[in-house]
């Protein structure tokens, strides 16, 4: 399948005018403001204005011990909080060379992949809602609610999880959790078939997405766009494969890619990623070992050694990197959170240039940004 990018002849007639989209726009995800320069309905220039939900996570990290920062981690991105929470734990474990027991590795993969599915399902629902389709939103939130219930039963929270601990997880999972997860995966597979008939093959959706908002390989490379948005441009980069962490190399999964780089490709990539996450969860459940969920021997204090460290993990939106500098005390000297949506959004001015105003929602919605993650 090849979808040629839609060519629009640049309009040169009429005068330029400025339109503010957001930060309180119903179809803008969170508090993103786009200052659009328009000629007619064509975008001449787009400037994202961000920072409305800046909470100084990086400053907080320099003022509290690594352990005290743990609850902050899932607040960076509240839609895939589990991945950020576990990612932060994995970063500290890597720095302090803490070995994670096998059972905890499996539990983490199940929790993280359930979270990834819930994030993609939320995107699926809200993206289609933005495009004017209300029905899929109701179905996908029904599915997502089940994930939240399953994770709630073991973590005690619905969104901002603090389930990871340095070395493992807080609570063991029981058979009921595993059975519910298995049953959910089975249900989700039938739902995905329904979504294909209801949504993916829908002519209105295809008309609005095919050839719209093309991010070329070159653009993605220059802005370091990562995650599904990069894979939709034909680059099979996934941190779980490129730099295996947290036991992902023990399981069999694929990295779905599409070639066209348009909004439709990004849609396909996310749906196919849900299927891969299902496979990962099934494998992790099938081979779930018995044993501890935290290491037997743990350091009493988590002192970050002198030096600098980098840890990367794959969030639902792309490459999440933690760059930490230690000075030998409990408190990190410096922590930089390299969040995927920040880089993905920075590619938007170039992507939006020359497109129609009405496509803005499809394009910006299509890259799946989460503002608190950008603003940190």
């Amino acid at each position: 399948m090849t979808n040629p990018p839609r060519e629009l002849s640049p309009s040169t007639e009429g005068e330029l005018y400025t339109l503010n989209m957001g930060p309180q726009h119903p179809s803008m995800h969170g508090v993103l403001r786009l200052v659009l320069q328009l000629r007619g309905e064509q975008i001449v220039n787009a400037k994202p204005v961000i920072g409305y939900s800046h909470r100084a996570h990086e400053k907080m990290a320099e003022n509290r011990s690594a352990l005290q920062f743990l609850p902050n981690s899932s607040r960076i991105d509240y839609l895939s909080g589990m991945i950020y929470n576990l990612g932060y734990c994995q970063a500290v474990e890597k720095i302090l060379q803490i070995e994670v027991p096998d059972r905890a590795v499996h539990i983490r993969i199940i929790a993280a992949e359930l979270n990834r599915i819930s994030s993609h399902l939320l995107w699926f629902g809200t993206f289609l809602l933005d495009l004017g389709g209300i029905t899929p939103f109701l179905y996908s939130f029904d599915d997502r609610e089940q994930i939240l219930d399953i994770l709630d039963s073991v973590t005690g929270s619905r969104l901002t999880y603090c389930y990871g601990r340095f070395g493992g997880v807080t609570r063991d999972v029981d058979d009921e959790f595993l059975e519910r997860s298995t049953a959910f995966i089975k249900l989700l597979r039938t739902r995905l078939l329904m979504y294909k008939r209801l949504v993916t093959d829908n002519v209105i959706l295809r008309e609005r997405c095919i050839g719209v908002g093309v991010i070329s390989k070159d653009t993605a490379f220059r802005f370091d766009v990562t995650g599904p948005s990069l894979r939709a441009s034909g680059v099979a980069y996934d941190v779980r494969k490129a730099e295996p962490y947290g036991g992902y190399d023990r399981f069999d999964f694929e990295v779905p890619t599409e070639e066209d780089g348009d909004t439709m490709s990004r849609f396909h990539v996310r749906i196919r990623e849900i299927e891969q996450s299902c496979r990962l969860i099934e494998q992790a459940i099938a081979s779930m070992p018995e044993g501890d969920i935290l290491p037997k021997k743990m350091p009493k204090r988590f002192q970050i050694p002198k030096g600098e460290f980098y840890f990367a993990c794959e969030s639902a939106r792309g490459h999440f990197g933690i760059y930490m500098v230690g000075d030998g005390s409990d408190i990190p000297f410096k922590m930089k959170l390299r969040t995927p949506s920040f880089s993905n959004l920075s590619a938007m001015p170039e992507t939006l240039r020359g497109t129609m105003l009405a496509d803005t929602i499809a394009i910006v919605g299509g890259i799946d940004i989460v503002m608190p993650e950008i603003d940190r």
């Binding site: 961000i50 920072g51 800046h54 909470r55 100084a56 990086e58 400053k59 907080m60 320099e62 003022n63 902050n72 607040r75 890597k94 060379q97 901002t160 653009t219 490379f221 220059r222 802005f223 370091d224 680059v235 980069y237 490129a242 730099e243 030096g307 600098e308 460290f309 980098y310 840890f311 990367a312 490459h319 990197g321 760059y323 500098v325 000297f333 410096k334 930089k336 390299r338 920040f342 880089s343 920075s346 590619a347 170039e350 603003d375 940190r376």
Partner: protein
């Protein structure tokens, strides 16, 4: 490409260090001067490396300088290379990389926003996360701590805003 990347890095960097990737998460670290940054970035670009992030460390207490940290990585097979560039924020500017790596535009704006390091020839060096009229650089060590205001007795500020 006339010269391969490792040779080019050797030519341009002041000092290079092999690092244990399993422990620290990157392969090599290079200390460089501001004058070679653009040439080096171009070499990375031509060799197919992406610019993952630019950040900064406030080392003014020890060295009177800000330490800019650039992280380059290859997508096909991981090879993370860190660049260290020390800059005196009051008297010097670092060259911008935004004409090579477009993503550097926002990274550099963030470093300026938080540390007050300026980048020469940057197309729009403005605040990005903090308010436009802010008169401080929040991640500088002398800006203070997050909890100092509450230590002064204002109980209301102790709650987390998340």
């Amino acid at each position: 490409m006339s010269v391969d990347l490792p040779t080019r890095i050797d030519e341009l960097s002041t000092a290079s260090e092999e690092c244990a990737y399993e422990k620290v998460g990157f392969h090599q670290r290079h200390t460089i001067d501001a004058s070679v940054l653009i040439d080096l970035a171009r070499a990375f670009f031509e060799a197919g490396y992406v610019l993952e992030m630019i950040t900064c460390q406030d080392l003014r207490a020890e060295t009177q300088k800000m330490l800019l940290v650039y992280s380059f990585n290859r997508l096909e097979s991981v090879d993370r290379q860190l660049l260290h560039l020390a800059i005196d924020p009051d008297t010097e500017q670092a060259p911008t990389l935004s004409m090579i790596y477009s993503g550097a535009n926002w990274f550099e704006r963030e470093v300026y926003d938080m540390y007050g390091v300026r980048f020469s020839d940057h197309p729009e060096l403005e605040r990005i996360l903090l308010p436009e009229d802010a008169d401080f650089f929040a991640l500088r060590k002398d800006f203070g701590r997050m909890d100092e205001a509450s230590a002064g007795g204002d109980e209301a500020e102790e709650g987390d805003d998340d």
